[in-house]
Amino acid sequence: MAVTVDEAGFKGPIALLLDLITQQQIDLWSVSISNLIRDYLQKVQEIAQLDLEDASEFFMVASTLIGMKSHRLLPPGESDDEEEDELASERELLLLRLFEFKVFKDASDAIASRVHHSAMRVARRGTYPIELMNSLPDPLGDVEPSRLADLMKDLLSAQPRSIVDDSYLFTRRVDVELLRRRTIDELERVHSLDFTELVDWSSSRLEVCVAFLLMLEGFRLGILDLRQPELLGNLQVVWLGWISEQTKAELEALLQALS
């Protein structure tokens, strides 16, 4: 019994179970739970991520199934009432979750269909006549440039928000050319060193970031080699000491793009 795991939008065990029951018309008693778990783990390994919550959810469902299965194997009367009650309530819970999920699954199909049909109808992309726009009061009239700077700082420091603009950081705060010369000079001199040593003289985190990007680019261009013997350990930078004309041109282009 192969288990399908939707890799893009990872399916949970509830969805999986529902699939097994409704689409494949399978009697769960014929499902080998050990196979199910093995296939599941294999898939998880393939997508190279194991969310702990997802995994525990999966095992909760699997153990409920195992419990119910093993219970059925026992001759009647051998288990005590308490155990039986517990099993029954687990079964009820699982049933409820399956029902609930099925409802939302079908609702999502309806939403998908609506989204699709609605997308087939494109809304008018209007523009305001430019003559009219010019006759309106200018909304930027009383905005001070410093207001934009303040907004930008707020945005970049706000918690749930993302992104540091690397291009902007490079252009304004780091002399990339100087950094490159210092890096290459140092590497040519000592041939090999740890990244932490390399950025010892860096005055800011930004310079460290730029230096790191230069390392990556240098690695891509084959100018230097990077090694990291230990996970999260020191990054060793090895100077390969040879730059082709093409590589040089590429590097120049990169530097120009950065500055």
Partner: protein
């Protein structure tokens, strides 16, 4: 273009005069098509007249032209209330006129319709032109949404306001990623924090969600009860988990 911005209201004599003046050339038209002068009383009469004449051959009034112009320059749905405010006419008059415009384009089967979307009105192309537009815009019109994202969207749509944890609980799988995606695509928005313990961030669908689904309001979504599984499915699920046959 004066559509009776007079504060005295549509029913007043001065405003009536203005409106008559506006549509003056139209009332002379020989084809017997309806002209309208925007006064509330006449709107009723006009509706029936227009219905009698059908959608064809009608010459647009000043009010029609004004509303159409507004819709043509807009990219977002425009509410009848906004139009009424700009034209200084009662909203009911605007709604009636919009109804006529809708019937005009539908009746002539043009390449677009005037739809009611997210509480407003918006010009949208007809569905049969979709593949032409895909070629013209060289982009896929249908958005790519994974089954996971759609499931999460369904949960929010029907249970809003809702926290990520609740979505995860129903789907049985961690939903932080898809929720983030739906947020960045504009389908969802944050509606503040739960007042209960934990103060979880609560999510609701956005106005853009309505636009993307072509809905006027959330009330237009099928009730969730429509999706209750059929007796056979329920039985199948129950039977598959049963102890005995």
């Amino acid at each position: 273009m004066d559509l009776g911005t007079d504060k005295g209201g549509v029913g007043s004599a001065s405003s009536g005069a203005v409106l008559t003046g506006l549509s003056d050339p139209v009332s002379e038209s020989s084809d017997g098509s309806v002209d309208r002068d925007g006064s509330v009383d006449d709107f009723e009469a006009n509706v029936s007249k227009e219905e009698f004449h059908g959608a064809e051959g009608s010459i647009a009034s000043g009010l029609t032209r004004a509303i159409e112009a507004i819709l043509i320059v807009s990219s977002e749905p425009v509410t009848s209330k906004d139009v009424a405010a700009v034209l200084d006419l009662p909203e009911v008059a605007i709604i009636a006129e919009i109804g006529r415009i809708q019937r005009f384009y539908a009746g002539h089967d043009r390449g677009f319709r005037l739809d009611r979307i997210a509480g407003g009105y918006q010009i949208r192309t007809t569905e049969d032109t979709a593949d032409v537009l895909e070629r013209f815009l060289s982009e896929r019109l249908a958005p790519r949404l994974s089954a996971a994202a759609l499931e999460a969207l369904a949960v929010v749509a029907y249970k809003q306001p809702v926290s990520r944890a609740m979505v995860t609980a129903i789907r049985g799988v961690n939903s932080d990623g898809v929720m983030k995606l739906l947020l960045s695509r504009g389908y969802l928005q944050v509606a503040g924090r739960d007042r209960g313990p934990g103060q979880a961030m609560m999510y609701v669908t956005s106005p853009l969600f309505l636009e993307r689904l072509g809905l006027d309001s959330l009330a237009d979504l099928e009730p969730l009860s429509d999706f209750v599984p059929s007796a056979e499915v329920l039985e199948a699920i129950e039977a598959s988990l049963k102890d005995e046959e």
